[in-house]
Symmetry: C2
Subunit: 509 residues, 2 copies
């Protein structure tokens, strides 16, 4: 018999939580997509002010939702401080997108005025701005049950751009999804949004997700999760008659290159900083630094000891769900079992499942260069120290990396400048290049690029964090000789919204 409900599980106890969330049938999913399409007909033309009001009301409803923090903690095993912080981030994100659309310049209004007397032919009046592309399906992430889930960055940016959203609930936190979805629907009702502007579906396995990606009324897909999951959705979308963009943010090992003078000057401090970043959130961040690259000199044994020491201060903590825990232990073991890999540290206390046991491996670069498996992401509190015998090998290691969300160079001022080639190689590979910091902690701002070349994402031209995330769900639409009364406000001659526009090639701020 097929499963009819999704039930939440407490990863700490393995016990089922209250609430049965019915799996959406084919008919229901079809109706939801049709409703989303219908809602789009109205929603896409709502003013930035109205969409902003909607997003702000969602934030308020989430802040006021009863039992939300508790349910997230129960379903994810995350501590209260983290959950409250993430709720704050989620609401800030919603308000940031509200501000963006209320201000309005994000649509990239571009106007070329008519020149009736131009030779040999008159020039027409053409006005262009971004236009929403249609219903967006959001696949949510387990590791941020709020900030990358039901009302997370994908949903916020898609709603901000003028598109209805259908969220495929994460099986790992169905109760959280239910509370947040209801908050969104309450906000939609309060602000008078068209029915269908937001919906959520529950599914078990691949069936529901497949139907959503293949549905002809789905116009874009956003996903955060594993390489396997993201690439599968990307390939699935490739089978559609009509191509649609799939924005999948997937795995990354976020290498950190620690240059020798920096390491010599502050070996202990660096080891502590690395250990903290690797273990932040039990290593369950997409920007977790899974590989540390160093020059193998007389300072490395001391650094390795400091790293072990720093790791040994950290107790295993609960991972997000049993699947993630199992996967972590399996992948960690797989890496440590590879030829030439030395286990430098493994927590050997009584950490019981699902508490992820932190570990550190090390390997010589020539071995690392021979074995592609060593580049694979281990999702959890693990990092691999790659020791290069010289500068040339260090550059080889850099060149060998696949696409990454981030890479980091730790170095003293002069040695960073002396590593121009490393800088150039890494620029090819990443969405964000960090100096003397850690990749964890992704700032939600205008300049953020959270998205890198494949396999970090399926489309490195876009970001899933920061205001630019809104650009994923819009396309330019040009109006030629359009009567002013029909033009969107953003393009009207009088510029009633007072936004910045490019007019005849000149930016009018």
């Amino acid at each position: 018999m097929s499963v009819k409900y999704i039930v939440g599980t407490n990863p700490k106890t393995g016990e089922s939580l209250v609430g049965e969330f019915p799996i959406s049938g084919k008919e229901e999913v079809n109706t939801i997509m049709k409703d989303a399409w219908k809602a789009w007909q109205e929603y896409r033309d709502f003013s930035g002010k109205k969409k902003g009001q909607f997003l702000r009301t969602i934030a308020e409803e989430i802040e006021q939702a009863e039992g939300l923090v508790e349910r997230v903690m129960e379903e994810s095993g995350l501590p209260e401080g983290r959950v409250r912080g993430e709720r704050g981030r989620t609401c800030n994100q919603l308000r940031l997108f509200a501000s963006l659309v209320e201000e309005g310049s994000w649509v990239e209004a571009t106007i070329d005025k008519a020149q009736q007397d131009r030779q040999p032919i008159p020039k027409a009046d053409i006005r262009k701005m971004l236009y929403p592309t249609g219903p967006v399906v959001v696949f949510t992430a387990s590791n941020f049950p709020l900030a990358f889930s039901t009302a997370g960055g994908d949903t916020a940016s898609a709603l901000a751009s003028g598109n209805p959203v259908v969220v495929k609930a994460h099986e790992s936190h169905p109760g959280t999804n239910d509370i947040v979805s209801k908050a969104i629907l309450r906000a939609a009702e309060k602000i008078g949004m068209p029915e269908g502007v937001f919906a959520t579906v529950y599914g078990q396995g691949y069936e529901t997700g497949q139907q959503l990606v293949l549905h002809p009324l789905t116009k874009a897909v956003a996903f955060t999760g594993s390489l396997r999951g993201g690439k599968a959705l990307y390939d699935l979308a490739g089978k559609r008659a009509e191509p649609i963009p799939v924005f999948a943010e997937m795995g990354s090992v976020n290498p950190i290159f620690i240059l020798p003078n920096k390491l010599k000057a502050n070996s202990d401090g660096l080891a502590t900083q690395m250990a903290q970043s690797v273990n932040l959130g039990v290593g369950q961040f997409c920007t977790n630094p899974g590989i540390l690259v160093v020059l193998d000199n007389e300072d490395i044994p001391g650094f390795t000891s400091s790293l072990k020491e720093a790791f040994s201060q950290i107790s295993p903590s609960c991972m997000l769900n049993a699947g993630i825990f199992d996967n972590f232990e399996k992948k960690k073991k797989h890496i440590l079992d590879q030829e030439g890999v030395q286990s430098e540290y493994e927590f050997n206390g009584n950490g019981s499942a699902p508490n992820g046991r932190p570990a550190v491996g090390s390997v010589l670069a020539d071995q690392f260069l021979k074995n592609g498996d060593l580049q694979e992401e281990v999702f959890g509190p693990f990092t691999l120290l790659v020791k290069c015998k010289n500068q040339e090998e260090l550059l080889k290691v850099a060149r060998q990396f696949e696409g990454q969300l981030t890479a980091t160079i730790m170095g003293q001022d002069d040695e960073v400048l002396a590593h121009k080639e490393l800088f150039n190689i890494l620029r090819e590979k990443v969405g964000r290049l960090i100096f003397n910091g850690v990749p964890t902690g992704v700032e939600v701002c205008h300049s953020m690029q959270h998205g890198g070349p494949f396999p970090a994402t399926t489309d490195g031209r876009f970001t899933s964090v920061g205001t630019a995330a809104i650009k994923r769900f819009a396309r330019p639409l040009a109006y030629q000789n359009c009567p002013d009364a029909l033009l969107p406000d953003e393009l009207k001659e009088a510029n009633p919204l007072g936004i910045s526009r490019v007019v005849d090639g000149k930016l009018e701020a």
Copy 2:
């Protein structure tokens, strides 16, 4: 035995032209892609001024290239005035992109400055700008042997963005490709560009194109041509281990909706305007209006007569090549043979191959709605008049259209405003919505959107005409806490290039 050379053919005479252009073997293509990659390492960091100088020198070399106009005429059958005009447009395009990169603001520099004292954690300095994505393969179009070919908009925008270009020569004009390629290579040498920054390959059939699309060092593909060709490349790219964007600009029927008052007021004038647009360039434009939609009232017989009369003034002219001619005659016949389609006009003089014989068909909307074939593009001087019995049917026809490069509404001021629903339906379908004009004649400017929802293109979020075309070949790259000396000039604190940037969310023009 396999073919070893491509030879040009004069479509007017069917005779072979001088020049044998060797088909590139697998080894050669591989070497070319490796050289392009190597060139990219250097070229991507060239200043806007230097890239601009390169583009301007290409334009000069093309203007000075001996025998170019004659060769285009011989290979394409296009008249001298058109070829000279197209050469002008091609060089203007190169200079427009030169201006764009010389000015420099196109990179969308976005800066968020550090806040050391922010609570609970300090804010890092993050600076983002567009970065070239790597070697671009360009598949050229037959219908613009200069402006959409070897040094056309795709090549110009890809070079401008900082990417080497490999052009797959069009089999229809190999000699033109040879002359233009040599002009580009002369410019590259004059300006001291790295070897491999530009190359061209010749191929017969699919093999060479396939190798180019699947090559791991190819990072983007641009194509202009048929739906079949473009979709095949798109699907092929989907088989790569690493996904890359494919920007295919494909077919479109560019419907024109003629509203009744407008038609009544100026039936003859409209008929002439329509006939001219349909027959411009022997109908071989991607924005050719292949369908005219009208309300079937007492004015339609007169309008149809006027349309016939206007068409009868037009003599068949040479089409671009024998394949296009054959395809036109076949497709035209296929449409005219469909149930309910009436042939209103067909040139019945002694127009011999490859002179495309203009034709007009008509059909009642209820029949049109039943038969998907009638929406297919007929590439050449043909249009289909679709007669709707009422307003509701007219909207149904609008709704039935697939994605288009353009749609047009012809109407008097008040009736255009009264057709808000038509306006809304068409906005969903197109990249450019035109009022009281014709779709042919695509302005090369900042506000142009030449790209619409599938099947007009594979990615309606981008344009292949106008300055925004450069955005196709770049992705955002963020630098966090990067030393000023390592930052690209566009992001340096002092803004040495004086470009517009968004700093802490505020646009600094």
